[in-house]
């Protein structure tokens, strides 16, 4: 039962932390809880479907179907997060230059809302499908009583969600003008971690084959299985033995979003008087 709890906790942690961060990051969006609920709901429903279809999915593309699907999910999630970072930087600029009345800015925020829903749904889907698959397998393959599985799984799930809530509450204590700069940096690192994971998925599937050897090994001082290793892996994509390609994608992902944020800023002469209010990346 403890094993079940631990696995469910690990599968939930990343999604829960991410939802916690996005909940804090979207404090200025009207109806954010509905958006977040929608993202989690869609992701959970999708997890069930994906778990049920896993047998078919894995047979596609010569046994690489799951990796292909994973790569697509990672790509789309990365784009949504990049979009969120870019649009919230613009939004801050427009807010402070009193341009928010313009329909333009409002329409853009509308789009940013769908980016939030999609990013959450995909993150929940990615982790959730594995959790559902595990539970289904556990119930059918072991002589464990359903109650024990339910109890263990429930405890793991609850612990994961509690960590996400703690993340949200912690971030919520940050005063308004600093909050967005912190959440944007966290989302930026999370997006870079998705990019690194994409590199690993493509290498694992054999579609990328250069720079596949590990650059360094920090599994001695900070193993992936230690609590801090697990937390850092979920939050910023810590990897004890990253390949060159993973590092390249990580840094490339960071640069792409930072450049996008810079480029998309309106080049108007009447710069905001209080730049500290704009949630931009530094």
């Amino acid at each position: 039962m403890f094993g079940t709890a631990l696995i469910l906790f690990r599968e939930t942690l990343e999604a829960a932390l991410f939802v916690g961060i996005l909940a804090a990051a979207t404090r200025d969006l009207p109806q954010r809880w509905r958006l977040i609920g929608m993202g989690v709901g869609i992701g959970t429903a999708g997890s069930g479907l994906m778990a049920l279809a896993s047998g078919h999915i894995s047979q596609l593309a010569d046994g690489l179907g799951a990796d292909l699907l994973n790569a697509i999910i990672l790509c789309v999630a990365f784009i949504m997060l990049a979009w969120h970072c870019i649009s919230s930087a613009q939004h801050g600029r427009e807010m402070s230059s009193e341009a928010r009345q313009i329909g333009h800015a409002v329409a853009q925020r509308e789009q940013a809302r769908s980016a939030v829903v999609i990013a959450i749904a995909l993150t929940v889907l990615r982790e959730g499908a594995e959790a559902v698959l595990f539970i289904l397998g556990y119930v059918s393959g072991h002589n464990a009583s359903p109650q024990a599985v339910l109890l263990g799984g429930g405890a793991g799930l609850a612990a994961g969600i509690a960590t996400g809530v703690a993340m949200y509450l912690g971030l919520s204590r940050i005063p308004g003008k600093h909050l967005f700069s912190v959440t944007n940096k966290l989302i930026l690192l999370f997006a870079a971690a998705l990019a690194a994971q994409l590199a690993r998925t493509l290498t694992q599937a054999g579609w990328l084959q250069t720079l596949s050897e590990p650059l360094w090994d920090t599994s001695g001082p900070l193993p992936m299985t230690s609590p801090l290793g697990v937390l850092l892996h979920a939050l910023v994509g810590y990897d004890a033995r990253p390949s060159g390609m993973e590092l390249l994608f990580y840094v490339g992902g960071l640069l792409l979003i930072v450049a996008g944020t810079r480029l998309s800023r309106p080049r108007t002469s009447n710069a905001p008087k209080s730049p500290s209010h704009s949630p931009q990346l530094r």
């Binding site: 094993g3 696995i7 896993s54 047998g55 894995s58 047979q59 010569d62 046994g63 690489l64 799951a66 990796d67 790569a71 790509c75 990365f78 784009i79 990049a82 979009w83 870019i86 333009h104 329409a107 853009q108 789009q111 594995e130 698959l133 595990f134 289904l136 397998g137 556990y138 059918s140 393959g141 072991h142 690993r200 493509l202 290498t203 694992q204 599937a205 054999g206 579609w207 990328l208 084959q209 596949s212 050897e213 590990p214 599994s219 193993p223 992936m224 299985t225 990897d239 004890a240 033995r241 990253p242 390949s243 792409l256 996008g260 480029l263 998309s264 309106p266 080049r267």
Partner: protein, 117 residues
């Protein structure tokens, strides 16, 4: 003034191009092949010998009815294999040495080691 769609669209296109480039790379002919079979939540062979310094195409055959997640921190790989099915993944090129792996869903019995030499 930048338009509404340019930045996200540019990102989509860049990601698309990156993925296309990545998927277009042809596999080297010199990959070695190896197979791991899972039955009753145990891997066979538990010691899998593979050549060092070249890439290995590893086929995972799950003969159990339950899914398993092949995981190895040393190899930096994780892959779910549904019950009664097969999956493929690439590992290496590896330096000579031992690389432990395990089945995350049944860690007590499902474990083994890749030996590169």
């Amino acid at each position: 003034m930048p338009s509404l769609f340019t930045a996200p669209l540019r990102l989509v296109m860049l990601a698309g191009v990156a993925l296309l480039c990545a998927s277009g790379v042809p596999a080297i002919a010199a990959d070695a092949e190896a197979t791991l079979t899972l039955k009753n939540h145990r891997f066979t062979p538990e010691e899998l010998k593979v050549p060092a310094h070249i890439r290995i195409k590893l086929t995972l055959v799950n003969e159990d009815t339950t899914p398993e997640e092949f995981e190895s921190h040393a190899l930096n790989r994780e892959k779910v294999v549904p019950g009664k099915s097969k999956a493929t993944l690439y590992i290496g090129p590896l330096q000579p040495g031992k690389y432990p792996f395990f089945g995350e869903y049944n860690e007590a019995t499902a474990h083994g080691v890749v030996i590169a030499e």
